[in-house]
């Protein structure tokens, strides 16, 4: 994959672009995560070097936030909200069906790398619950069928 050859350069560039910001570390990690879908292990040393902070600082911040995955996600990321408003609208009753439809358990990536399934806690779509987010696009009033259809499209 050509991307991995360029990876250190891209991370260098992202970190350098943030040097002028107040408290840049979060912003650097957010941008790396947006670019790659995860924060590659080798990014930590580069970011620490560019921002002149310790690798422990970078590892500590990376490990704290659930968005910062340590491994690449599947090609499609499905996040199902399981917070109270979606519970009241019956989300727990569709959890098993969603896992079956996608062939993947919560917190896992399917073995063929096609899809990652995660739980989430609120997308602010509580008036149209249960809600899911599929590759950053919000879907309302979901069940296993609508999620499965949305993943295919």
């Amino acid at each position: 994959m050509t991307e991995s050859a360029e990876l250190p350069d891209i991370i260098h560039a992202i970190a350098r672009n943030c040097i002028g910001l107040d408290g840049p570390l979060m912003e650097v990690l957010v941008r790396i995560n947006q670019r790659f879908g995860y924060v590659p292990q080798e990014a930590q040393a580069i970011v620490a070097d560019v921002l002149n902070v310790s690798q422990a600082d970078v590892a500590g911040v990376t490990g704290f936030y659930s968005d910062f995955r340590s491994t690449p996600p599947g090609r499609v990321i499905v996040q199902l909200c399981r917070a109270e408003a979606c519970q009241a609208a019956g989300v727990e009753a569709v959890v098993k069906d969603v896992e079956a439809a996608l062939g993947c358990a919560f917190g896992e990536t399917r073995s063929d790398g096609a899809v990652t399934l995660e739980d989430a806690y609120c997308f602010g779509n509580c008036a149209l619950s249960p809600a899911a987010m599929i590759d950053g696009f919000l879907v309302g009033r979901v069940d296993a069928q609508t999620i499965s259809d949305a993943v295919k499209s």
Binding site: M26, D67, C126, L128, M133
Partner: protein, 493 residues
């Protein structure tokens, strides 16, 4: 010329507003994409010359254009759930293209900023204090006192931080406002900066709101008042910063840590953020709705704002009705109506048609109220007296299929998942809470474990560093108090 308004709000899009828009455009009709009116049970909704059609799918559009009435709900002004509202903060949301500067001005935008810069910072501080505005994020602290504290703190650099980490389930008012009228938030932030002497603002936005991020970025780039010297030499800039999936960062001190590029650990208070906030400088941390309320207070006069609501709860509040509810959405009304009025008159009862059994108000840290408390008034103090809190105005309705022991367990599990880990009562207590509820519901040493549970609630409430650990006992204690039979089920099996 026919004008068709369709929301590009992420909620409306989540049920097909883009496809409906495409169908209108394919028929040669011009569509203006707006925020959502908050009448989500009618989304995707189209407003054609003030008449509402919905919920629509693309295949309904031809019929609507041919004058068929099947999807016609009637004039917006005649829809009771809309007509009964007092839309002040949300007056433009749903009515205009959110990032159209001319439309913003034509609908009263910048009026508050002009008033502020005409009258001066001292007048702004007085007006905000006299209006009775309290923080809309949950704690309800008087905004005028917070602003004055920062204004009087000596420092070269001060900051305005907008807390847009709206993580409470059942709340979406911040999202709707940021997607539907972002200039209003920016105007409110600039007024705050002008009043306290802060030249820089940050919006800390949760990553679960990508549409709001896009809209805010466009608005920051195009706002006609930001990043330029005004007549009196004041200049204000705003920077958007994204969170990364940590609920705790909605707590103001954890938010400040995260903004500084650190782990989102809660800080001990004092010092207050007003004295030592972002980057060690005096900082106003306000919720989106608090800042968005200010421009109208200044433009129309603080007396008008104060005339809405009751007692210590002044102005309007955009309440959000969600969960198992027929008419789910956002309803901006003066404080003081009862929870029952909100659920029955606006919400129309449960979506399932079954009886309401429990209502959680104020997000994951709010109490579960039984039917006997539904006549509680939607006011800060009335809710506190009833053992709950209004929080950010989210109302989640559950029907009689809910298991409150399971909800209490979830409250602990959520706290355990989201705890920053800095203080022991929250970090360990939440996990012990999950285990203890499990023991009770499986019938293990039930009486002894109820004693453990009550001890645990007291320790977490009194010993936690911040509101996450300190308020997690609220939903649990309310479940125990009002729905104890749900905990006894396992024991009696």
């Amino acid at each position: 010329m026919t004008t068709v308004l369709i929301a590009k709000d992420s909620g409306a899009k989540s049920v097909g507003a883009d496809a409906v828009t495409a169908a209108f455009e394919a028929a040669g009709v011009d569509v203006i994409r707006t925020g959502s009116r908050g009448l989500y049970w009618l989304e995707p909704m189209a407003e054609i010359d003030g008449v509402v059609y919905g919920p629509l799918q693309a295949e309904d559009v031809a019929g609507v254009l041919n004058g068929e009435g099947a999807k016609c709900v009637g004039p917006l002004a005649d829809i009771p759930e809309f007509a009964k509202q007092t839309r002040i903060v949300f007056k433009r949301v749903g009515a205009i293209d959110p990032t159209d500067v001319a439309a913003y001005r034509a609908h009263g935008g910048e009026g508050g900023l002009h008033a502020a810069q005409t009258m001066g910072p001292e007048w702004v501080l007085k007006a905000v204090a006299e209006s009775g505005l309290r923080g809309r994020g949950g704690a309800g602290f008087p905004t005028g006192i917070k602003w004055r504290t920062v204004a009087e703190a000596p420092a070269q650099q001060k900051y305005i931080v907008c807390n847009a980490d709206e993580g409470d389930s059942g709340t979406f008012a911040d999202r709707m406002l940021m997607e539907g009228d972002p200039f209003l938030l920016l105007e409110g932030m600039m007024i705050a900066g002008y009043a306290v002497g802060a030249s820089k603002g940050f919006i800390y936005l949760r990553s679960e709101y990508p549409d709001a991020a896009d809209t805010l970025a466009t608005a920051i780039a195009n706002a006609p008042f930001l990043d330029r010297d005004s007549a009196d030499g004041f200049r204000f800039t705003v920077e958007l910063r994204m969170g990364a999936g940590a609920y705790i960062c909605g707590e103001e001190t954890a938010l400040l840590e995260s903004l500084e590029g650190k782990r989102g650990l809660a800080r001990a208070k004092p010092p207050l953020p007003a004295h030592t906030g972002a980057f060690g400088q005096p900082t106003v941390v306000n919720n989106v709705l608090t800042l968005a309320a200010v421009p109208d207070i200044l433009a129309k006069g603080y007396g008008i704002f104060h005339s809405y609501g009751r007692k210590q709860s002044r102005g309007t509040m955009p309440f959000q009705l969600a969960g198992n509810i027929k008419h789910s959405g956002l309803f901006e009304v003066p404080f003081g109506l009862t929870l029952r009025q909100l659920i029955e008159d606006f919400g129309g009862g449960t979506r399932s048609g079954r009886p309401v059994r429990a209502v959680q108000v104020g997000g994951p840290l709010g109490a579960y109220f039984p039917e006997s408390l539904l006549d509680t008034r939607m006011e800060y103090e009335a809710f506190a007296r009833a053992g709950g809190m209004l929080g950010h105005g989210g109302v989640v309705v559950f029907d009689d299929t809910v298991d409150l022991a399971a909800q209490a367990r979830f409250a602990f599990a959520f706290c355990a998942h989201e705890s920053c880990g800095k203080c022991t009562p929250c970090r360990i207590g939440a996990q012990r809470g999950v285990e203890t509820v499990d023991k009770i519901t499986s019938g293990e040493n039930v009486d002894a474990n109820f004693t453990v549970l009550n001890d645990l609630l007291e320790v977490m409430r009194d010993g936690s560093l911040c509101a996450l650990g300190g308020l997690t006992p609220t939903p649990v204690a309310s479940a125990l108090r009002w729905f104890k039979e749900d905990f006894d089920k396992g024991a009696s099996q």
